[in-house]
């Protein structure tokens, strides 16, 4: 981004080199700058350099697998991560989201869908960045939580809580509608920038990450309630 403004830098991590180079070619055709890594160690090193706007991370890799990379990465950085999981392995996607991935796609996938997902995550991250420049006045406070638009973090009782940009988006949407139930479909469109698909566990995982990171309310009640069959509700005390 420093050298070629307007072009997003992606890191594609997959042990299948042939697939990687095709992915590189395809994504470059979509106006991204793409670097590649074929094993977990290299991937982690490159990702920690913090020059990438997004990491596309394959879970199934020999030696250090995608989960290890993600876990390690999240200790130091909140760079958006899109996971590629084995088709039908719901557990993988749930574990990945729990570890702080922003979204997941099952592999094999249609490259058009992949590009759409990448764009959605980047838009979300960009919103956060933009907001920090312009609307510093529009900070959001509710109870012990203070949302600092753009800072990519949230203050709880004045202390910073590290959130991924996706978690931040989800929290922001919920906070702006605090006290009201936000349907899953609406939350998906406003926070994830895509339509809700059936059996998509992403929202549940992001919300449960938020609960874990933010902890319960002062009176020990659930901060974000799940309204079964409808959606989520941020509790107003």
């Amino acid at each position: 981004m420093k050298e070629e403004p307007g072009m997003n830098r992606l890191l594609v991590v997959d042990d299948d080199t042939e697939l990687c180079s095709m992915l590189q070619e395809y994504l470059e055709g979509e106006n991204f700058r793409v670097d590649m890594a074929h094993d977990g160690d290299t991937a982690l090193q490159m990702a920690l350099a913090d020059v990438y706007d997004l990491v596309v991370l394959d879970i199934m890799m020999p030696r250090r697998n995608g989960f290890d990379v993600l876990r390690e990465l999240r200790v130091h950085s909140n760079t958006p991560v899109l996971m590629l999981t084995a088709r039908g392995d719901d557990v993988d996607s749930i574990v990945g989201l729990e570890l702080g991935a922003d979204d997941y796609l099952t592999k094999p996938c249609n490259p058009r869908v992949l590009v759409a997902r990448i764009r959605a995550i980047l838009r979300r991250a960009a919103n956060v960045v933009d907001a920090s420049r312009e609307t510093d006045s529009e900070r959001l406070q509710l109870g012990d939580i203070e949302l600092q638009p753009g800072a990519r973090s949230v203050l709880r009782n004045g202390e910073a809580v590290a959130l991924t940009s996706t978690e931040y988006s989800v929290l922001e949407v919920l906070l702006r509608s605090a006290g009201q139930v936000v349907s899953k479909a609406e939350l998906s469109e406003r926070a994830l920038d895509r339509e809700l698909t059936r059996y998509d566990r992403s929202l549940d995982m992001h919300v449960s990450n938020l609960r874990r990171k933010l902890g319960p309310l002062g009176d020990d009640s659930e901060r974000i309630q799940t309204v079964r069959g409808v959606g989520f509700l941020y509790t107003v005390t």
């Binding site: 299948d16 042939e18 697939l19 095709m22 992915l23 070619e25 395809y26 055709g29 084995a86 088709r87 039908g88 719901d90 557990v91 749930i94 592999k107 094999p108 996938c109 249609n110 490259p111 058009r112 059936r198 059996y199 079964r228 069959g229």
Partner: protein, 464 residues
Amino acid sequence: MHSLFWKFFFSFWTALILFVVATVWTTSHFLERTRAQHQQQSPQQRMLELVTEGQAAADRGGIEGLKIWLRQIDRRRAVPLLLIDGTGADLLERPVPARIEARIQRHKRLPDHTRGAEVTRSRPLIHLDDGTTYRLIPDYQSLTLGRVLRRPQAMLMPLFLAGAISALVCFFLARYLSAPIRRLSRATQQFALGDLDQRIGPAVGRRKDEIADLARDFDHMAERVQALVQAQQQLLSDVSHELRSPLARLHLALGLAQKKAGIGVHQDLERIEREAERLDELIGQILSLSRMESREYAPGKGPVNLVELLDTVAADAAFEAGPRNCKVVVTESYPVELQGIETLLHSALENVVRNALRYTGPNTTVELSLIPDPGRVDSVLIEVRDHGPGIAEDLLPRLFEPFVRAGEARDRESGGYGLGLAIADRAVGLHGGSIEARNRPEGGLSVLIRLPIGAITAARAHQA
């Protein structure tokens, strides 16, 4: 000694010997006791009692009364009693043994005074009105086994004992032989129902005979079948896994080609893309099927609202049904919830409904209903009815096996792989339920899904 043949042989032999020994022993015991009674417990006194009884009978009924009394006595007592008249003949015309005759002769020859007063008093004589005198003589020597056996009253106790002992022997023998066979048959049934983990070895223990051999052979066979089935599932799953990498590359290559291609090629590329996506879907189905078959489904259970489930599936399917002017309608439902894996139940129902839509005639309705199972209290019954041609009866039981299709040509056209119903079957099976298909008498196919609901969720559904 360990073989079943010898077990049969020796146990029957033992039972028979035991029976005979018990019979002989009790009989001889009985005989001895009887004899002892007659010889030691003042036989004269017993004779006197009998004589008094007989005299009374004679006084009441004359000679006929005496005959009746004698017959009764004879039936009741093991030791025969003879009633001899002056000519030496028995009242009941039974043969009189020579030694008895000799004894009578001896008595007659003795002069009266030598017999002594006591003997005279106890002389066993019964007098009739017409002056005839009968002498009552017990015939101890004729106390034979045959005579005793013909008198059941006398034999009741020994018979009962012998019967009880042999019954006991036979009972344990029968149980010893039949229990492992029953166990084997239960295991076979379970095995046939799909529980490939059934083994009998532990239940047989250290037994060594043909039944134990059979049990071990069964275990052997079960192991082998299980290994084969697992290998087959593993192969299917492995192949599908391996197919994913080339498919992922295929998708990308296709994407690149589409970018570079001129207008003329686009249509062909789209066709290739469609096929690639079908392949994707097929592989996904195979993988989820094999995962369900190996029962390693991890996502936790949660409450599933069945009414919602039916409505969602019906709404989704109705969208697909539009082009053929078909409808999908929920005709009947009631609020009920169960603990389960929603994604699995959804795909089960969806696959069944899709299958129904595939075969139902144009302009017809596929009906879904959810009712309490009339057969069982703690389960629900979901029925999916179509208005199609139904299915050949011989195909019905195989309908839920992978890659079994009802109509070969038509099916491929409509995009089926023959896996949908197999997935539905495994998914329902994972919830402890069952699925079956039957042709409706009025035409069309009806698929019945039975799902057990826990007691708690049933109660909660009641409150709702």
